[in-house]
Amino acid sequence: MENRNQYTEIEDFLADPSFQLWVRSKVDQQDWEDWTLGNSKMAKVVEEARLFLLAMKIPENNLSTEEIKSALESTWIKIEEKEKAQNKNVKLVKIWKNTWYRSIAAVFLFGLSFTWVYNNYFISESGIINYHDLIKENELVEQINNTSKPQITTLSDGSSVLLNPNSKLSYPKVFAKNERKVYLSGEGFFEISKNAKRPFYVYANEIVTKVVGTSFRIKAYANEPDIEVLVLTGNVKVNSNQKIKTANEKEVSLLPNQALRFERKNFTFNKITDITQDRALAKTLCSTIEKINFEFTDVPVDQIFKTIEQAYLVEIDYPREKLKDCHLTTSLIDQPLPEKLKIICKSLGNNSNYIMNGNQIIILSNGCN
């Protein structure tokens, strides 16, 4: 628009973004109003261009951010499928043409069948499955907490996991279409985003925990004799891993405030219907996130942020001055951390948003409504 003084044709104006903005949205950043008044020679062409744009309205489509997000997610799934298919096709065809590789393949196949036999007979005989056995078959991202404090991990579906020290979690970058599988060694508190079509499975040593959207804690250290599953909200089903043929095939359903202790040595499931009566469990609960109340009634936002900081051991940076008079009434129970932040930002209004990077959270806001 600096060279608008050289414009001669109607096309010049039509193509000028600031001119378009002025006509279509009445946003006059470049003072077109004044400019037209000062350029009487061009006034006719300008008027014509304006009429053209007014006659050229196009139906708009505005996809919501959610729709775009889900489109992005399905694109990642497509990418994963395509990459898998390609690796198989291109490489295998090339390699197969070489007889030398064919003999290697034969040996490899033999080895593979041996491993299969081993997995099916020997492992099930000893009955112990470790984290390493579980994750080796899959391409996964691994989160290890070597620090002395619990650490937050968010997953691609919006779920969050608070991982205890000396614990590991493996998960795919993008979950499959019909299920979400993660692998745990150690202890973690899970808050799962609700999606009935994609059940969420936690593989932990010899047991598999299945949920659709809820919060619970699993404690499954490789060197401890028991595995514990403790439910805070929702409904959880626990099975033994199918690799163990000898274990009694049994499914245990757990409701809120119920727990399960699995004895690894003799494959027994012990359901605990009153967790306050179990001293070991009651002890874990005293010091953890489950104790924190996420029900807020007319509470200042900085208080809510402080609660989240303590619960998830994160740091939240927010415009203190702008949010100092904001109070919220909301329930954040049973929501993964990203969901909690989203709800807060939505309640604040004014296009408030958040950025999350590891345990650092930044709230962008211009104050509340």
Partner: protein
Amino acid sequence: MKNLTISCDLTDDSILWKYLKMGDERAFSKLFEKYYNHLVHYGNSISSFPEKVQDCIQDVFTDIWVYRQNLDESVVVKAYLLSSVRKRISRLQERDHIFRQTTSIDSINFLFDFSIEYHLITDEETTSKVVRINALLNELPPRQKEALYLRYYQGLTVEQIADNFQVNYQSANNILHRALVKLRKEWKHEYLLILLLSSNIH
């Protein structure tokens, strides 16, 4: 607050494109989120199957990521995306045509009708002029309409439109120019006539 918003500068397309080429997933996601809506809009203007449109666009992005190493670094991202979507939709429609055994060669047809920004118009005189221009615009051949849409709605340059239509610069320029010349001629003609008539009455 100020130091927090600095990161927003990373929205520059060519930088994001470069990062995408290096395998940065966040750059990919940013570009996706930035242009998905535009692409769906364009796709729906040339295909009447909204679901297939979204599918095609996701396929375009899938290929961009899978073959990112072969991407040209110097492209104008938006123009590149629009023309990739056009190619894919046209390929899909050609395939459908073969199955239906129809003979149409140029399978792409611009489907949108231009409408009128009534809420921006306050006086009757402007309304009647705009209504007339609008009618003339909608009488243009689909290709000319599409060119106008790409030029003045999506903001592509003439070169980029030529690329998109797979014709040379001169042809693209002609398509656009012809559309406007025809429009202005007819409109002016009519307008003068109306002026003359109304002055006679007085």
